[in-house]
């Protein structure tokens, strides 16, 4: 899944100090309760309802046009907050009522995520999916269908294939990086010598950073354990 660069009109977007780009045509209700953690992109005609509850969006998230993010309503006195982790990619026309979305999640076009859903890390929701309320989507799964999961497909346990399936995350990291083309800087990639990288990249990475422990967190925001394969493909994307 390769994403092309999207050129945008600078005048249409408000850019904050931490690198968030929010379209002027989007509607952010209750903006004092919305926290965008940095380098997040909100495209035009989105609606983020911060007035219902707190919305915390991680870094490098992309919310494409006309999507609606609203925190779910809880029967207790106060509405629950909505937490999105890093690198979440939400495509056009989605309705997201989820309580919690993990890192590196890709939500396709025209989806309806029911209320109080919990999407764990690295899952993928295909286009036109409906997730019923209170669904828990486990990590590394693919959901589709109406009502999903009509065919929840788990990636096979073969590690080379799981590298391929987790590739979308650095691909849309590269999309969000290309949208911020002014700040083009090569991200520093940390990978230990025994992490699962592609073999041809390993000597290059080792030469750059020879003395890093595998537990060091890379600054691009990925977690160490599934990121080992991902950081390898990240450098490949930046080089191409």
């Amino acid at each position: 899944m390769e994403l092309s660069e999207i050129l945008y009109n600078k005048a249409e977007y408000i850019e904050t100090a931490s690198g968030n780009k929010v379209s002027r045509q989007s509607v952010l209700c209750g903006s004092q309760n919305i926290v965008l953690n940095g380098k997040t992109i909100v495209m035009n005609d989105c609606i983020i309802r911060g007035d219902l509850a707190n919305v915390r969006v991680g870094r490098h998230c992309v919310v494409k046009s006309r999507s609606v993010i609203r925190p779910p309503f809880k029967s207790s006195a106060k509405g629950k907050a909505s937490f999105f982790n890093d690198h979440v990619f939400i495509e056009e026309d989605c309705v997201v009522n989820a309580a919690q979305i993990g890192s590196y999640v890709h939500i396709g076009k025209n989806c309806v995520i029911g209320r109080r859903c919990v999407l764990k890390d690295c899952c993928k929701i295909l286009d036109n999916t409906v997730l019923p309320p209170e669904t828990v989507v486990p990590p590394f799964t693919v959901f589709s269908g109406c009502p999903g999961p009509l065919a929840p497909r788990k990636p096979p346990p073969d590690p080379s294939l799981s590298v391929h399936l987790s590739r979308p995350s650095p691909v849309f990291v590269s999309l969000s990086l290309s949208l911020r083309s002014i700040f083009r800087r090569a991200p520093r990639v940390h990978a230990g010598p025994h992490d699962r990288c592609n073999q041809e990249l390993l000597p290059e990475v080792l030469a750059a950073q020879p003395d890093l422990s595998p537990a060091s967190k890379p600054p691009v925001g990925s977690t160490p354990s599934p990121a080992s394969s991902r950081s390898g493909s990240l450098t490949r994307n930046k080089d191409s």
């Binding site: 209700c29 609606i47 609203r70 009509l150």
Partner: protein, 184 residues
């Protein structure tokens, strides 16, 4: 054809200013209309009862039926919406008569010739374009629009309505009754 843009909003209703309401619309008390909801009364007035919840990007439209010639006179039909209905995000409703306690879920599409009685749930993404009366307590769901009848109607969202009526005024300006007569 003259339309008098006359939006009558009852005293207890919470209608956000960012919602778009056009035409002759009457909104009952305790109804909550979220921002970016659209209620358009083109071909006749819309009467909305009390206790309804209309979420953002919902579209309630009393529009002209398709396939009419420009010269034909279409008599204005009133669209009636009962009590305690929920119109979730992104739904489209053109049904002329909606009863009580119905739930139209996200991205559902209800056509003009459908009559919803009470207690019906139109599931997400379902398109109901038939010409029929949907019996009580029916649930329409799934990509094939399957149906089943449930034993009880969906609960009225009183807790959510109370919550919204408390916090929405904190973040939004509200619309009050507009009593101007405009020729559109």
């Amino acid at each position: 054809m003259h339309h008098y843009s006359c939006v009558k909003i009852a005293a207890g209703a919470v209608v956000c200013v960012e919602s778009e309401i056009r035409g002759d619309v009457t909104i009952g008390p305790r109804t909550v209309v979220h921002p970016k909801a659209r209620i358009i009364a083109e071909a006749g007035p819309i009467v909305i009862g009390e206790g309804n919840l209309i979420e953002e990007q919902a579209l309630i439209i009393n529009g002209y039926p398709e396939n009419i010639t420009p010269e034909s006179v279409v008599e204005p039909k009133t669209m009636t919406i009962g009590m305690n209905n929920v119109f979730e995000v992104g739904c489209v409703s053109q049904a002329l008569k909606i009863g009580d306690n119905n739930v139209i879920e996200s991205k559902a599409d209800v056509g003009r010739n459908v009559i919803l009685t009470s207690g019906c749930i139109i599931g997400a993404f379902c398109q109901v374009n038939t010409c029929e009366v949907i019996p009580e307590n029916t649930v329409i769901y799934g990509s094939g629009c399957m149906r089943r009848v449930q034993t009880e109607k969906p609960q009225p969202q009183t807790l959510q309505l109370d919550f919204l009526m408390k916090i929405l005024p904190n973040y939004h300006h509200l619309k009050k009754t507009v009593k101007a007569g405009h020729n559109v």
